[in-house]
């Protein structure tokens, strides 16, 4: 479904990704771990189309189409969703209005009828329960005055509303206490299906304890240097990223 081949990208002229290869099939969950500044978040932003990140080499295809040729909104309409590491506050636009506009834009692109305010509210209230969000938040401006936990819940709630084919969770665990982490993880798990793929980007293993990815990759210096199954998460926790460095160095010898 998602095919990343030899992906190179830079920002402000500085190379960040230096040859990523990754294949994600329907229903799979992939964890991408790595130390700070290894390029994890850059990968998420390149996939979703943030303009500041310039692809210099390689390709990304999604269901056979050239993803890099699409505008960010068209990638979202094709079924790609990113849970932001830092959800953006938008004063003057309510969460409900924003999300209905998003949902209807996606529905329209699929030839589906728009949801009116009444039907939207019914669905939204139902899905908010999934992440323990209060319905009142729909009337508040997007993320304005939300706590760190509320912002991340809001991301997973949006994911539930937009029903993506591929969800990328960018450091969704950062800034969450253990209760919020569990709620958010349960919200993600409830949305797993044989058709929906998930990429979890994280520095720590604690979110992965709840999510149980099928594959784990270690990203260092702009490349995936090591891939394994779910057992790799525990090894990394035990030995740290230094162990991977040594392991890779040993393999190279």
């Amino acid at each position: 479904m998602l095919e990343i081949r030899n992906l190179h990208a830079r920002v402000d002229g500085k190379p960040i990704l230096e040859g990523i290869d990754l294949t994600v099939k329907p229903g799979e969950m992939h964890a991408i771990m790595g130390p700070n500044a290894s390029g994890k978040s850059t990968l998420a932003k390149v996939i979703t189309g943030r303009a500041e990140y310039e692809v210099t080499e390689g390709s990304v295809t999604f269901d056979g189409q050239d993803l890099l040729a699409l505008e960010p909104e068209d990638r979202a309409r094709a079924g790609i969703f990113m849970s932001f590491q830092y959800p953006v506050e938008i004063a003057g636009v309510t969460t409900g209005y924003f999300l209905r506009a998003a949902l209807n834009a996606i529905r329209a692109s699929r030839g589906q009828e728009e949801l009116d305010a009444f039907d939207f509210l019914k669905v939204a209230k139902d899905k908010m329960k999934l992440v323990g969000m209060k319905p009142e938040l729909l009337n508040r401006p997007v993320n304005v005055g939300f706590s760190g936990g509320e912002k991340k819940r809001n991301e997973i709630f949006q994911m539930a509303m937009l029903e993506p084919v591929l969800a990328i969770l960018d450091e969704t665990d950062s800034g969450l206490d253990i209760d919020a982490l569990r709620t958010v993880a349960n919200g993600v798990n409830a949305q797993r299906s044989p058709e929906r793929s998930v990429i979890v980007i994280t520095h720590y293993q604690r979110l992965l304890d709840y999510l149980e990815p099928d594959f784990t990759h270690v990203l260092m210096g702009g490349r995936i240097v090591y891939s394994g199954g779910p057992e790799l998460v525990g090894k990394l926790e035990e030995h740290g990223y230094k162990w991977v460095e040594e392991h890779v160095a040993a393999g190279a010898r």
Binding site: R50, E73, G92, F98, A102
Partner: protein, 439 residues
Amino acid sequence: MTASNQAVRHWERVFSQRQEQGEADWLATLRSEAFERFTAQGFPRAKSPNWRHTNVAPLARVAFEVDKGAAQPVDPSTLPALPGAAARLVFVDGHLREDLSTLPAVDGLNVASLREALSSGDGDLQELLRTGSPRPNGSFVALNTALMEDGAVVRVDRGAKIDGPIHLVFATTALGAPAATNLRNLVVAGALAEVTVVEHYMGPAGAACFTNVVTDVACGPGSQVLHARLQEEGDEAWHVAEVRAHVGRDAHLVSLSMASGARLSRTGIHAVLDGEGAQADLLGLYLGRAAQHHDHTTLIEHRAPHGTSREVYKGVLDDRARGVFTGMIEVAPGAQKTNATQSNRNLLLSDGAHADSEPMLEIHADDVKCAHGAAIGRLDDDALFYMRARGIGVAEAQRLLARAFAADVVEGIHDEGLAALVQERLTTWLDAARFGRDA
């Protein structure tokens, strides 16, 4: 002969050709004194105080005709409607058109045209027309006083609460030669009265007309007045306006100025808080596209203790449009416990758009709270990307963010019908905005 002298010669000819029509002596004197002030000052120049950013030399060069008088045909369906309005007065090319106006009898409300009020020998008018400071639109006010023909006189009796706005529509038709209209409005709210007055200016595209208007607003003790002006003139029009408001003891004035029309508009709002505990909220929204120029020059004078003023002006500028905001707050000695806040923010939608923002404070009392802020910026890239990453198209995301930018001005309008009208106009404007993209 300089261009400015030429302009004054033209207006001297216009003034001398005015029909006297047996006017009262005081009025004739008022006019000639005002005209002398105008000829002495001439039109403002680039170095005139408060005119640094707005060039009216091209306006001064046009030989406008005044008061052509003939009733022009107007399609009533093109006139704007304001939901819930208590009354509607329609002026076409500066003259009241009773056939297009609706004036139901409302207890405590007295609405007339200035022409009618002047000819009926209304005793209070003399005082009302003489008051008011000549700042900041000086010579335009003088020209207006010399040549004023008509306008609306709205009076509200003590304690009367008028349900629904008084909608004053000033329409210009496409006259052959460039025409000038000098309008004079008066709003007088008695003690404890409540009223909303909306001045609404409109005109056809392509007509190089000049609207010069002065409105005096007197808010009696404890009164609540919403005074709004919606400037939607045609794209070749010139619009110069001056609002002078006096806010009495414990009175509350909300002033709104929305400008989206005209090639050049200059709006002066001068609010004097001369009663203890007076409150003034000044709201402004200017929308500029193509090569439009919108200037708002406001002056808030705190002359009595315990006054509160809140000013929020926002500009949204596309293409090569230019916005100017000059906001002066003056706190007189003795106006202790004054609380004044001022904010001007500008959203530039294109590289060619430009905004000037000049907040100014002059404080002569020691126990006051004054805060002001100004900003000129663009749509937030992070917010735009967030919306697009959720599937919202770039154009819609831009419109949503720009509408959100102006939201607090719309939310400050407590008349529902008026707020809805402003919101509708904003939405329509944004729907047609190019956001810097080529036409």
